[in-house]
Symmetry: C2
Subunit: 598 residues, 2 copies
């Protein structure tokens, strides 16, 4: 057994051994002359003119240690033994620094060390423990415990902690009660795929992990809890993307005796509170937009409104001039790329290539330059006169220097395509600034959406969402047009959360399941407990859920949620650090009455 471990162990039997007097982030000129004890990790060390300097790091900061060759050669020699990431403990006196470092809180001082203990040595880390590291994604996931030592990652998790605390403070003050709902629940066919858990005590049967506590929070409203919230893990067995994880965290809320208006106000208030307390930002009231307008003006139900560039429809102006592409199109629609008339052929080709990508799927793009000399020049000049182009320009509120980009085709499809183009152009123009925040509410979502694959309607939000009273009559006649009491909060083009006013009446819930293609028996088998509950005095209620990981990543200015999660899974759902999932023992499967079929 190596000497360090014995030393540690014998030292630690001395009760006062471990105590630090300070952290590595707090000593200043106010502490000059004090004798202090610090403990932490060696960030780096260097020798300079008979002195050895060590930067010691902990969660709270970095302090410079100094060892003097002449004054204490033995100690200095020992200081030279230690290298990056060693865990050390030092005693010393706070002295003023000759070359101050204004970048760090402790930059005015250094510690003149009188005693150095190595608490634990360290092998050379597989990548640099610096703000900018040289480690690749896979390596950093395998050694996540080392990656988490880097300030950017640590700060994301500190921000996450702070946000969770502020969320609880705010909701507690609003009389919300945090109630834990079960993790071992029942598998349901609606929504995404469930993770399931075989039950040993009930052979052949399975629990499911919740995709959300939806039905339980509604039952809590039936129980009269009035205001519920929970910051809770949810689970979806879906194929993963940068912003998806098999387990994710939701800020889940439900209220009784309220209207959509109450919920929007209360949770806009929560978001304001977070921007204020966590980022020091006073946000303006959030604008609201109907789903219909969002699709019409941005081709998306989660528009990025950090910049304008709204859609302009040219169908009437563009048709009937002999250009077959437009003449045959259901919709001709474009955007004004302000000040881009100077775009080169090459730049325009790049945009054309972008929209032709399979994930966008457009066939071609028409452009029209409003040159700074006032002339208009388009890629379809042979079909459209100067007058025609002037009319287009007017619709775009064009000014000299602008560039109009126009797509055409089937309305729904072309809007989605133009939405992609709009974001691409905005990125190229630097409009998508991560330090800028543009929230909005999208309201009046459709209740149902047609699913080609299963050839039936799906609930756009979920089956418990109530239709707008005035639209209920259309459920039988024109289901696609029925609007829901549903709403989403969108920030910078990301859906942060959504919710709805729920159905609280058995009859309407049964009607809803019927339109989702459930037989009465299926509906009763899956959700009978909820519909039964509605018959024992269910209050009108509604709620909302925010994706906590996404909210934190937006606040951190990150694209992926992975770096706001301490121990994320990779894209094939593996935790490469602990090497999970893994095979289990035969006896375990036997006890659970299951077999694998691979």
């Amino acid at each position: 057994m190596d000497s360090y471990f014995l030393k540690n162990y014998f030292c630690s039997s001395n009760k006062t051994f471990m105590h630090r007097t300070n952290t590595c982030g707090e000593l200043t000129l106010a502490d000059l002359g004090k004798e202090v004890i610090l403990a932490g990790w060696v960030q780096k060390s260097r020798d300079l003119g008979g002195m050895t300097f060590i930067d010691v790091r902990d969660r709270y900061g970095i302090t410079q240690l100094v060892f003097n060759e002449e004054e204490n050669p033995t100690l200095c020699a020992k200081a030279r033994e230690v290298s990056r990431e060693y865990v050390i403990k030092v005693t010393g006196t706070v002295v003023e620094r000759s070359n101050k470092n204004p970048k760090i809180a402790t930059g005015d001082i250094e510690l003149k060390v009188s005693n150095l203990e190595i608490l634990n040595p360290a092998k050379l880390p597989p990548f640099l423990i610096e703000d900018e590291t040289d480690g690749g994604d896979d390596l950093r996931l395998k050694y996540r415990y080392l990656d988490l030592r880097r300030a950017p990652l640590r700060n994301n998790l500190i921000l996450r902690h702070k946000m969770a605390q502020e969320i609880r403070k705010y909701l507690d003050l609003q009389d919300f009660l945090e109630v834990e709902t079960p993790v071992l629940i029942k598998s349901t066919p609606e929504g995404a795929r469930d993770f399931v858990v075989p039950s040993r005590m009930n052979p052949g049967e399975f629990y499911a992990l919740p995709q959300s506590p939806q039905t339980f929070k509604q039952l809590l409203m039936v129980s009269g809890f009035d205001r519920y919230f929970q910051i809770v893990k949810c689970f979806r067995d879906e194929d993963l993307r940068a912003d998806r994880q098999p387990e994710f965290t939701q800020i889940d809320c439900e209220m009784s005796f309220i209207e959509q208006e109450d919920i929007l106000n209360l949770f806009e208030g929560l978001t304001h509170h977070l921007f204020k307390t966590v980022k020091g930002l006073d946000m303006a009231p959030f604008p609201r937009m109907t789903y219909f307008d969002a699709m019409r003006l941005y081709g998306s139900d989660k528009p990025d409104t950090r910049f304008d560039m709204q859609f302009v429809e040219l169908t009437d102006l563009a048709k009937g001039k002999g250009f077959p592409v437009f003449d045959s199109a259901e919709l001709v629609v474009g955007i004004n790329a302000k000040g881009c008339s100077h775009y080169t052929r090459k730049q325009l080709d790049e945009l054309t290539d972008f929209i032709k990508r399979p994930q966008v799927g457009a066939t071609g793009m028409v452009y029209c330059r409003f040159n700074t000399d006032g002339t208009l020049k388009s890629s379809v000049d042979k079909f459209y006169s100067e007058e025609d182009l002037k009319a287009w320009s007017a619709s775009f509120n064009g000014e000299p220097g602008d560039l109009f980009l126009i797509l055409s085709g089937k309305s729904e499809k072309v809007r989605k395509q133009l939405s992609e183009l709009r974001l691409e152009v905005a990125s190229r123009l630097g409009f998508r600034d991560k330090t800028k925040f543009s929230p909005l509410w999208v309201v009046d979502f459709p209740l149902l959406e047609w699913d080609e694959e299963s050839d039936r309607f799906h609930a756009m939000h979920h089956p418990f969402t109530s239709p707008k009273p005035e639209d209920i009559a259309m459920l039988d006649t024109n289901p696609k047009e029925v609007r829901a009491n549903a709403y989403d909060l969108v920030i910078n083009g990301t859906e942060i959360g959504g919710g709805s006013i729920r159905i609280h009446d058995r009859t309407l819930q049964e009607l809803m399941f019927k339109h989702l293609g459930f037989t009465p028996e299926e509906a009763q088998k899956q959700f009978g407990f909820l519909m039964d509950a509605f018959e024992y005095g269910a209050p009108p209620h509604g709620g909302i859920a925010f994706g906590f990981d996404r909210l934190v990543s937006i606040f951190s200015g990150l694209d992926s949620i992975r770096d706001v999660i301490a121990f994320p899974k990779n894209n094939s759902g593996r935790d490469v650090m602990i090497d999970s999932p893994s095979t289990i023992a035969e006896v375990q499967m036997k006890e659970l009455c299951i077999k694998t079929t691979v």
Copy 2:
């Protein structure tokens, strides 16, 4: 569709419809004359001399509504339509009550109703929604959403919320960061049975649900997080008892650069804070007792110290007087049941029957009365003289009126038996008052305990617990005697939590696994990621975990944790409300590459 639902829906399109001006718990004489709107559930209604009275209930309280037959016959008739648990909304004026009810906050007033709306009718509940209900356990679990309407259950969950908030406040002030650890982890052979989750993306492999975040919180210490906590769901697939649930909640904490002393102080502080803020109690400092003393004086590592009644050893006094049972015993030990010398034959027989139960397993009990007339009378007088009994009595600090109860046999076994007898006698004497709280720390647990079944040593706490430095040498020579840096918090005979100073050195961790019967390969396969981490600069660290459900149930004065959990499972792990676990679709199993074998 029934008329109520249509009414609700058309009403709810009016934005102001839902708003209450007040809750049912806040109106007092200060509000006299105000016109208010309340919404809630009908608790009860009665007719009395041309008046109809309805008690309307919400989470916040109960308010009495009054309807006057003469003044408004139509409204009064409508009021008579509603019955228990209907959801109603009323407008009315606050008036003073003739017969005040001092028991409730709103007892001085009642609401003279001008308008009544039925928001949702209710079928007759299957049991009484009162503090004392007539519903059986199974029925109440099936209709948990109705049981949760009862004040006692609701108050438990409100207390739970308050405690969680206070815990987070306290730990946040102490620089702890709440970090979420994964729920989908890796199955390990140590400890209790894991719940497992088949992975669709990794066919034939399984995740496991965590029994605790132990290894992850230690990795967070290696990452330099310094102080971690989490209020987190944990999972154990064990056969259930009143105080066990397959999913339970833990207050999980870990700290770096600390000693056992620091942890005891900090978490004694947390417990003091909870007693103060939640129950308004100023608790004295918690006593500490070694595991050895706890076993010697109480025969239990979680002694109920609300009362004294410590063990008294009589072995030397009792042997060699010709009483074969004692002569052949390894240990003769008893308790003094103060003031019980009057116990009848029948009462003594009941105690004898109690200790003879299989779960106690003693063969017989000797008693000795210290009569109020000063005489001593035992069940073994033919072997022991007055002098002998006087000597016994002296050891018991006996006084006239006392009763000595004595067991004998193998030390370990007889102590456990006497521990049961001690608790039984205390219950009969009313010493186990649920409104009294007696916490203590039990320290210096053994590191290892021998497991007959698997014929090897098990870690008494867990394999990551460090031995006391001065005992390490005994690991090879006398493993049973090695003490751990481990501690438990016990309140009223219940283990609330426990923890330890961890191993942070690969060599010692390997040594530990060796003593637990792991081959180096097995240890590396299961816990390699942790031992590898120890080589990259692991700080000395330790922690503790409290059983949150148990802590809340102790604070609520309950024996079972079931009533501090919103939606518990029954003893066969079923949620009878949602009927889970249940079978899943063939296609689901196919996707997961598993088959059931039942």
